[in-house]
């Protein structure tokens, strides 16, 4: 089996339009959540979110590209460009033939669905643009990345709600670890901050109107975000041979299904995924210094997740740090695990633990070190990234310092 390392990272999210800007915002405990801005927002009960601002697609893409790129594809391409540029890889010949793109998204081109349903239902139009289907399909982003960067190996999109990116990255990890591909582009994106996207979430009654306060006793729900996180996963020997900068190592992963409820999380399912990732990576629980929590800020998730961590780690659960960066960038749904992997990279590479901001009151059911409100310096050997999706589908990645 090959060792797998990350040699490139890229992002655009509510905290920044690059990895450097996102790290700076996480260090400062900056909140990217604010009033939503889009058509008909006044008809929503939930009017806050982690929206990407100051981003003009018009200057970045030409007219033909704009007719084919939904916002989730635009985010993906911007993040992929940053990640692949950092890796220094150019894909041609054998490397191109074997390297592919595995991405996660829950909704795909939600705003394309929304705009065109509005057009035919509300505005009564009887004709839509010819490229509505290739624009909205969930694999559009993966396909455009493959075309843009000449990636001709295995490429597909994984959709497992809020665990989509972690499931996607687990697939890419497997491909590099098995020797099937020397490098894979992976991660995920989401963009459902439009009227229909938020209206659908509103229906569940799990959204907060004020803030995302994971682990805080007065937490009252999740806040949606948007954006993308893209990485280059590479065979360690391949990366070393070409002198690439290594951001961290991917040590292991595990996936599990609760097989119990379509929305309520399960402690056992989460614990099995966490313990499975440790076992897969050959990691002793005591080596884990940081966990990037799923930490949605809902009553159910946060207490279940803390209980699962306590079960797996025993007394060590009180010594490790666990934070939810959703408090800053919001919940990116299918893209969330990808953006949150950045917090693990920052912990391992820079020794900075991103905080859980907007934290106000300790909750005895979440009695772990949640790094409240202020980032912390710490040397971390191993970090975990949790994702526990609706539908009871869990995926946990384990990363190590190199």
């Amino acid at each position: 089996m090959k060792r797998v390392v990350i040699t490139g990272a890229g992002t655009i999210n509510a905290l920044g339009h690059s990895v450097a800007a996102t790290f700076a915002a996480m260090r400062e405990g900056h909140c990217g959540i604010g009033p939503l801005e889009f058509r008909d927002v006044e008809r929503l009960a939930i009017r806050i979110g982690g929206q990407v601002h100051g981003f003009e697609a018009e200057g970045r893409f030409n007219r033909q590209q704009m007719s084919l790129y939904d916002r989730f594809t635009q985010f993906t391409l911007i993040a992929a460009k940053e990640a692949i540029a950092q890796s220094g890889l150019e894909f041609h010949g054998e490397l191109s033939a074997k390297s592919g793109v595995v991405l996660g998204t829950a909704g795909g081109g939600v705003s394309t669905w929304d705009d065109n349903y509005r057009s035919v239902y509300e505005d009564g139009k009887n004709r839509v643009h010819p490229f509505v289907v290739p624009k909205l399909m969930n694999n559009a982003a993966a396909s455009h990345v493959s075309m843009e960067f000449n990636l001709k190996g295995p490429s597909f999109t994984v959709s497992t709600a809020c665990a989509s990116s972690n499931h996607a990255m687990a697939q890419a990890f497997q491909m590099v670890r098995s020797g099937m591909s020397a490098a894979m582009v992976t991660g995920g994106s989401e963009s459902m901050l439009c009227f229909g996207g938020v209206k659908a979430w509103e229906g569940l009654r799990v959204m907060s109107k004020e803030a995302c306060r994971p682990f805080s006793a007065n937490r009252n729900g999740m806040v949606q975000g948007e954006g993308a996180g893209i990485f280059v996963f590479e065979d360690y020997d391949h990366a070393r041979a070409r002198g690439a900068e290594i951001l961290c190592e991917v040590l292991g992963f595990a996936m599990s299904s609760d097989a119990s409820d379509i929305v309520m999380p399960s402690k056992q399912g989460a614990a099995r995924a966490i313990a499975g990732a440790l076992k897969d990576g050959g990691i002793n629980p005591e080596q884990v210094g940081y966990i990037n929590a799923h930490g949605t800020g809902t009553v159910a998730n946060d207490k279940t997740e803390c209980a699962a961590v306590a079960d797996v780690f025993g007394p060590h659960a009180d010594r490790l740090m666990i934070s939810s960066t959703k408090s800053m960038h919001g919940h990116l749904i299918g893209g969330t695990g990808a953006v949150e992997l950045l917090a693990c990279i920052m912990a391992l590479k820079d020794g900075v633990i991103a905080p859980t901001i907007s934290y106000e009151e300790p909750d005895p059911e979440c009695a772990l070190d949640v790094v409240p409100n202020t980032a912390r310096d710490a040397r971390v050997e191993v970090a975990l990234s949790n994702a526990f999706a609706f539908g009871g589908l869990n995926a946990v990645l384990a990363l190590g310092r190199v």
Binding site: S67, R127, H129, P130, F131
Partner: protein
Amino acid sequence: MSTRDKVIAIVAEQALLAPSDVTLTSTLDDLGIDSMGLVECIFAIEEEFDISIPFNANTPDESDFDISNVAAIIAGIDKLVSQKT
């Protein structure tokens, strides 16, 4: 704007050319418009003239709507517009 000028404007935009570079005898091939560009042209023409063009991208040659050159497209549009009640 005449039908001719409107069609030339639509085709020129799709081909990323100036309208003066598009003539009545230009074919879509000459102008570098591929099959995706063609369906976008048809969409834009339908929007502009509020007509429905009988065109199936699977069988472009069997269509009742002649797309062999710009003049044929204009003639086809004029016919469809005149049939509108």
